[in-house]
Symmetry: C2
Subunit: 193 residues, 2 copies
């Protein structure tokens, strides 16, 4: 793929942002390239375009696959692997949310749950456990949000995104309506599926 100046700028930028996003430069650049490319690319094409080693591209593609951010496909009469990104940016974002939850939240959630099983032994630990409990509760909720997001249809997601700060207004509306057929405080506002 030809690197016009604006495409190159984007690719280099993704390389630089990589470290902030928890991936390395090459992985960032590979992703940027695949994201912009009209057609799927094979490893050799990526190698040539980016000017990095073939093995580096191989490792980068494996990493991107572990994030479920690229798709592997084949063409008849060609046994090389071709890679592409999903068309839909919302789908991409959803994958990103899910994978970051797994990597950045779940391990801590596991530790917190384990730790909170044991009773606190002294004063300091008492307080520490309270704090861990608060963090745990919040992380559970965020984690649940992430799971719930995955279930939404693209349409619903798109609407949710556009809502923005209008959400609290919706909540107010809901309150007014609830006054009619009111039940006593439910712990969680989801009705069980």
């Amino acid at each position: 793929m030809k690197l016009t100046s604006s495409i190159q700028a984007f690719v280099l930028h993704f390389g630089e942002m990589g470290s902030r996003w928890g991936i390395n430069r090459t992985v960032g650049q590979i992703y940027a390239l695949l994201y912009l490319s009209k057609d799927p690319l094979n490893a050799e094409q990526i190698t040539d375009t980016l000017g990095v080693s073939r093995s580096n591209v191989s490792m980068g593609l494996k990493e991107l696959q572990s994030w479920r951010l690229v798709r592997l496909q084949h063409f008849p009469g060609d046994r090389r692997d071709y890679f592409s990104t999903p068309e839909d940016v919302l789908e991409i974002a959803l994958t990103l949310v899910e994978e970051r939850r797994k990597r950045e939240l779940d391990p801590t959630l596991t530790l917190l749950r384990q730790t909170l099983m044991e009773p606190a032994t002294d004063q300091d630990e008492q307080h520490a456990h309270e704090r861990m409990g608060q963090m745990c509760e919040l992380m559970e909720q965020v984690s649940q949000w992430s799971h719930d997001l995955q279930k939404l249809s693209p349409k619903e997601l798109q609407r949710l995104l556009m809502l923005g700060s209008a959400v609290p207004k919706l909540l107010q509306m809901k309150d007014k309506l609830s006054l009619v057929g009111a039940r006593s405080k439910p712990h969680r506002e989801n009705s069980p599926d």
Copy 2:
């Protein structure tokens, strides 16, 4: 501060997760310690507890301040700096969302807006610009969400968190209501402030 086994486990865990969260081990450990501590701590106490160099703690605290994740305070008759984290985990989470937006989204958004000002020169670039446009739009929306979140009261935030997958149901409700006093499709569902 005494490191009981569960406190130590938490501190070490935060150190290890640091690299995934975009901070280094020491910064993670310092934060964990401050988060769990009942009272504010000064740099020397942190140094002693973690067994790292005084200068490392100094740099770590600066980093945490740049994230706005710790607060500096003083006690009468003591000129050392004492650090603590906010009580409210929701407030902490909000700060985190805001700072990550600044660091992980805004630079890319800036690049995309700049790039999309220029017209595409050829076929490949044409397609690339369309893709950049899609990404830009999505990032604008996510960025706006982040901004909007900052404006919510703790109460509203708490309710929003508990909503989870019930949000689409709310959307449906809204649709039904909107049928009454319906306007023609607004581009964004927020009413301007």
